[in-house]
Amino acid sequence: MGKKIISAALLLMSAFLLISCNESEIGVFYGLSREEKVKNYALPDHCTSESMVKTGGYLYVAASTIYKKKAEGGEVDWHKVDSPEDYHNVTEMGLLSDTIYILAYDPDDAKPALFSGSGDGSWEKKSTPADGKISRMRVAESYIFLTDRSGNLYYSTDGSSFTKDSGASPLFSTSTGNFDVVYGDGSYYLNAQYKIYKGNPGSWTDITPHRPSDNKSWKDDEDVYTRLYYDEEDNRLYAADNSGYIYAVDSPSGASKTSWQKSDDNTSSGLGLQGMIVLRIPTSTGGKHKVLLAGSGINSGRGYFEVHNPRTEKRDYLDPERPRNSIPIVSNYYDYMSFDISKAAINSFFIDEYSDGTSFDFYALTYGYGVWKNSNKGGYERGWNQE
């Protein structure tokens, strides 16, 4: 009996040694000794949000309920904005010519409705195509784009009537397809599950990334493109996929399938990526540190990945990596690792540029972990707080 127990104890001790690991760059006790409670403001901690807009000096976020607060650091707390009557679950929001468009659900009806308003809580119901069986909404430059549950694409300039886009439809085979639209370099770009298109509503050209060497698709068959981001300053279009790779193309309005560059490495564990943003953060040396942030996807939930100084000359210049202690550009590493944002799936980012032309805050909109704001903490230090 005694020998058996001692053997079991030794076995357990061996198991301890085998499972020793440290994925982070922080000592366990060291990290605890430096942990500070995150500042937390009025938004629900576990809300899910995907879209934010800025208009009339206010920021608006759709987190089931609509909230607003003064932009450019003018206000700390958020205030509720009345939702459309009977449509209390607002899932998506976009801005077109200072008008806010929202996609909202009646809890008793699986079909959403499109509304427009100025942000004062009064909403006008707009038309919805496909008998209201709408799946997703995106607003870019001059158009509102809707997809229905059969994968068809519709567009409108003001929401009063929608045109079915025969040039690209149907985009998906199911209603759960990944869908995003951005505008830049005089063209619209649209990702629809396995494809990326450029062009204008009604006229799309397939520019799905292919290897220049053999003109074959650069991704595995089962991988899908999740999100797009256009960086105006570099005139570059980025795409992310659900295997954690990042794709980029310069001067995208002239892009073809083989113009793309693809990251050499993915998120190491193959974690999918979602929303992206490119930031240029002032440094103490007087320069700016360019960094692309890419949020981890819903099935992975590992905060965001960083690409420092992203370029298209070489594939590994696009490799995403987890935040490092040695590059605390976006946030103090200890804070980031101890805050819930480091384990959140991040749907999208939103930048709030100040009218002084240099300062900015940016927001991470998460799946189930609330909204996080990154702001200047003094000097050149930036950090996160939960809204």
């Binding site: 001790m13 040694l17 499972i19 982070s24 000592g27 366990v28 605890l32 942990e35 409670k37 690792m337």
Partner: protein
């Protein structure tokens, strides 16, 4: 900082010495010795026991290699352990103990520690009470989300048991946890992150002899 640390260390050592000293002095009374002798006759080489402990985990402080003291920033936590021991003589037993604890950080992250120790105990008896003085040495797995580390651990403890009968006893236990968490710097974590953890647990105990 250094002053704070010394004060804390002296306080803890003084408490431990005081408790231990009082307990060692207890059997000097003739009547107690008689009782103890009567009771001890039941135990001999090969007798075994299981002890189950459950109670509070009390974070104390960390200090680094420069002896600077830091708050653990942990809440009061929970602790439990299972201990098996075999008697080598009337007063001395040896065995192993597997424990576990949890406590929360300011951002509600959960720290888990799982110590596995070899444990030696000296038993002081004055029937129907027993006072075990123990020292456990072994390994401790600390886990905080993605960070995990295995360290040496030393766990001196003192208990107080009331024997209900020859098999069952109930009591209380207080254990000090000293966990030197050393990083060599060869992995992802810098050697500057080495810290020495100091904790306590206070638990209720159930002892079964067989």
């Amino acid at each position: 900082m250094m002053k704070d640390f010394k004060k804390k260390l002296i306080l803890i050592l003084a408490m431990f010495i005081f408790i231990s000293g009082s307990l060692w002095a207890a059997p000097s009374d003739d009547e107690d010795i008689d009782d103890q002798d009567t009771f001890v006759e039941s135990y001999g080489l090969g007798d075994q026991m299981f002890i189950i402990n459950a109670g509070l985990f009390i974070p104390l402080f960390f200090f680094d290699r420069d002896m600077e003291v830091f708050d653990t920033n942990l809440t009061l936590g929970g602790h439990g352990s299972l201990c098996w021991q075999v008697f080598l003589s009337n007063h001395f037993s040896l065995g192993a103990e597997l424990g576990g604890m949890f406590a929360l950080s300011p951002n509600e992250r959960v720290l888990y520690m799982i110590p596995l120790t070899l444990k030696a105990t000296y038993w002081i008896r004055f029937y129907p009470f027993e006072i075990p003085l123990s020292l456990g040495l072994g390994g401790n797995l600390s886990v905080l989300e993605e960070a995990a580390h295995i360290d040496f651990i030393a766990k001196p403890s003192v208990g107080f048991y009331w024997n209900m009968n020859e098999e069952w006893a109930f009591g209380i236990n207080a254990t000090y946890w000293f966990v030197p968490q050393i990083y060599s710097g060869s992995g992802k974590v810098s050697s500057d992150h080495s810290m020495f953890g100091n904790f306590m647990d206070a638990s209720l105990s159930v002892l079964f002899r067989f």
